[in-house]
Assembly symmetry: C2
Homo-oligomer: 508 residues x 2
């Protein structure tokens, strides 16, 4: 079967991923090291993610703020003291002026050297914690529940669009609480917000659980994640939520007077998801014809393509299409007006343009359709019929309008169902010793999925040894699923009695 | 009359401005040089601005994208060659790693020095122009109509919250067109979008017009602005739209094949508004009791304050308030659901908290109100009665709900009307020579407003001389209003025949 992309997932998954990004006009290299340009279709998906997730973040009582992009170097000195595993790859601003060097070039003006260099935020714990220390005096000021949508920068040597870029877009929630229990509850509440958002909006099934100690955010008491399975069987950590205990409060001096009049340290949390999620959507829902965007996050859910031929009839066809779009926009799907677009612009091959972009419903209308009262309908989730032919179907215009919202729901469910079946089919259980684990991932098969095993949850050096053994197989522990069955066997690493179940796999 | 702020506009307008920002919890110093923290109430206003303006930007055919925050130094070398007045105060990233210096301090790791420094974007013409050069090949690719919402950095020595900060938030539109006429039309179309948005959403009346040559964006063929009058009579440039001709296309090589098969340079535009608008809202609508937020951009339009007293009755009062909020949220004002908040959190002085923040309607409800079926209503735009007493009025709950949407519209109109009357009252006409101009601004009166004069529109050295004369009086030409009457007199600077009318004033 011939496909729209000139490479398939089976042939080369990494190259296929890049092809989807390029052919679906999601993003492109910017010419600036490690940074990408997010193009309208990709950014439109991000806008949908922002809109829907922001509503959930607000519904759970958080308010949005904005904190500076620059963080003085000294803030990191405090953190470096307190936090093991402090990361150092950051963009550092050292000058505030350019000057001509006399040879037609510009150079940082030596006279503009900053006394204290500024770091471009890699995350905002330090600067937000400093604000919390100002805002919080009494137990009455707690909890503080804030969020920001922002760009952050982490210097990356090897980058991959959406998955790992030096600059990326994200939201970071930061909260402070009077008690550890309340902060833990917040951490899990936001994890659940992410889980539900991923399942319901992205149609990406995930496993929510706790990361092992060696994969915690530096300084966190506990880190939780949602892990999604890509079509190559690798895991993508698609969101994290951290319980920070009093570690950051100590470093940043977030103290309050409790109701008994005593000074206490606040307990804090942080949690975030990023444009990385779009990488996950591509690798979960894409196929050999490009992207398939779940209708809930599709910038346009129905794309109407008038079959124009530079004749006098064109105007009438265009009018007909615009009228149809208006009719659709007056309808509601998923509790919002249907997003319909008439693509009257680009000249040719529009059908395949929208197939590759992954618009859920593509409707073509030519003169013959109009006289027959039909539209020609393509469902992106069922592109080919049993004979491998493009499954475009003539549908009466009235029927199409009547069914459009239900069709979108059906497509959303189909994508979620397909991905969920794949996730379940590719988590292997019953591996009881390390040799079994080794065998599973050695057995070939390009896309080996994940293995759920039992372990004794070692810490410190014991855990390091486990991580080393896994690393040789290019494996990591993804998380301890919150919903896993209780342990009833022995540790796959040590043979000791197990205390819980964990997921192991390769990852992005 | 006693007011909520301890300083009045009359006493010290600049100090009053800072007091409003602080007392209304809009923003605060961040501890990071030149950067502010935008707090929830301030950021909530920005979110409203974003939402409403974004809809207009999309309705006029533009799509949102995201471009890198970093711009390689060499991009500015190209621009510096082409653009007179090239600005050089920018944040320059020179290193990508921190390391410990052995004395407990962190320093930029010398080994991580970048071969080519990166500039934190002060505006994105260069990097977006480079993308346009990739995207545009043929006349069929035009127009390209894009916008981005982003943070930008311009190193500022003297900063003032919202008005001039090193980092600020904005939207920047960038477009490329096949003809100069179409690009000029775009420039004016977006100026009109800004004008209407300012009048209708911010309730800030503005004068739209063309900036004089010496105030153009470097490299622009024409720059247009909307100018708002603050309560101290100064002008605030609240938005700009630039027709760039082929100047940037030349520097960035944005060329296309026209329908005749010839290579042509594209004509480009750019246009932007920023968080500066919030400074304008404060200085136009604030009073000696704090901010007054126009209902269209108020994060909450109705704030309900339960009069809690730590008694058993509290729960019933809170429930009553929540029910009222739900009822209000089901209603619509300005085509959107009413935004109502029950402030059950902070303990005391809530009335004055919300007066200072400028919530349009403040509703207090205590046990007596509930039994009488009333609410106690404060309109933020009419805070005091004729006797200088707080004009809280008991209104039946039913009447209040029935009138809430209309009241919000009334407040929006009242704020706009008040500001419009002030603008009109403070533009002086009839000054026909420079002495008259000098006299007007020397006559004392702290808040001298603007003067509309006629001039001969000199260019080059002639214009420089005019600018110098004005500078001595701390004056600038604001713009040539598009709606001004035609010239019919002589130039206030030269006595020559005038060609148009301009506005002159002090400015932020
Ligand atoms: Zn195939
Ligand atoms: Zn007064």
């Amino acid at each position: 079967m011939k496909h729209a992309l000139n490479i398939t997932r089976e042939q080369d998954f990494a190259a296929w991923y890049q092809a989807v990004i390029s052919e679906a006009d999601l993003a492109e290299e910017s010419g600036v090291r490690g940074c990408m340009v997010i193009r309208p279709w990709g950014y439109g998906i991000w806008e949908r993610i922002q809109k829907l997730l922001d509503a959930e973040i607000k519904a759970t009582g958080h308010e949005n703020c904005y904190f500076p992009i620059f963080i003085p170097l000294s803030y990191f000195e405090k953190e470096a003291e307190h936090v093991e595993g402090f990361a150092k790859e950051m963009a550092v601003v050292t000058h505030h002026r350019l000057k001509a060097d006399g040879n037609g070039k510009l150079v940082p003006d030596p006279e503009s050297k900053l006394e204290e260099p500024l770091v471009v935020r890699p995350t905002s714990e330090t600067v937000i914690g400093t604000a919390f220390a100002r805002w919080v005096q009494s137990w009455r000021d707690l909890p503080v529940l804030i969020n920001q949508w922002a760009n952050v920068v982490r210097w990356e040597m090897r980058t991959r669009m959406f998955l790992r870029t030096s600059e990326f877009l994200w939201q970071e929630g930061h909260t402070a609480h009077a008690s550890a229990d309340e902060a833990r509850e917040e951490t899990l509440k936001m994890l659940e917000v992410y889980r539900r958002f991923s399942e319901e909006c992205l149609a990406v099934p995930v496993v929510a659980g706790e990361k092992p100690e060696n994969e915690r955010f530096p300084g966190a008491v506990a880190t939780y994640s949602i892990e999604a399975m890509m079509q190559d069987g690798k895991a993508l950590q698609a969101g994290t939520s951290h319980f920070l205990g009093t570690n950051f409060a100590k470093a940043q001096n977030i103290r309050f007077q409790n109701s008994a009049g005593e000074q206490e340290l606040a307990n804090t949390t942080s949690w975030g998801v990023s444009t990385r999620m779009i990488g996950g959507v591509i690798m979960v829902h894409g196929d050999d014809d490009g992207l398939r965007v779940p209708p809930v996050i599709a910038p346009y859910q129905v794309v109407i393509v008038p079959m124009l031929r530079d004749t006098d009839e064109d105007a009438a066809i265009l009018d007909h299409c615009k009228a149809l779009a208006l009719e659709l926009k007056a309808l509601s799907a998923f509790g919002e007006p249907i997003r319909a677009l008439v693509d009257g612009k680009s000249a040719k091959a529009k059908r395949w343009t929208w197939v590759k972009k992954g618009a859920p419903l593509i409707v073509e209308i030519g003169p013959r359709d109009i006289s027959a009262g039909n539209v020609s309908l393509i469902r992106r989730d069922r592109l080919y019929d049993a004979n491998g032919k493009l499954a475009g179907a003539a549908v009466s215009r009235g029927d199409f309008v009547a069914q459009a919202a239900a069709l979108l729901v059906e497509i959303q469910d189909a994508l979620h169902g397909e991905a969920t079946a794949r996730l379940h089919a590719n988590i292997v259980r019953g591996v009881t010793d390390f040799a079994g684990l080794e065998q599973h991932f050695a057995r070939g098969g390009k896309f080996p999925g994940w293995v759920e095993v039992q372990w004794s949850r070692p810490t410190g050096a014991g855990l390091e040894a486990v991580a080393e053994r896994l690393k040789k197989l290019k494996l990591t522990i993804r998380n301890t699923p919150l919903a896993a069955a209780p342990a009833d066997g022995t540790c796959v690493f040590s043979g000791e009695p197990a205390v819980e179940r964990i997921l192991i796999g390769r990852s992005y």
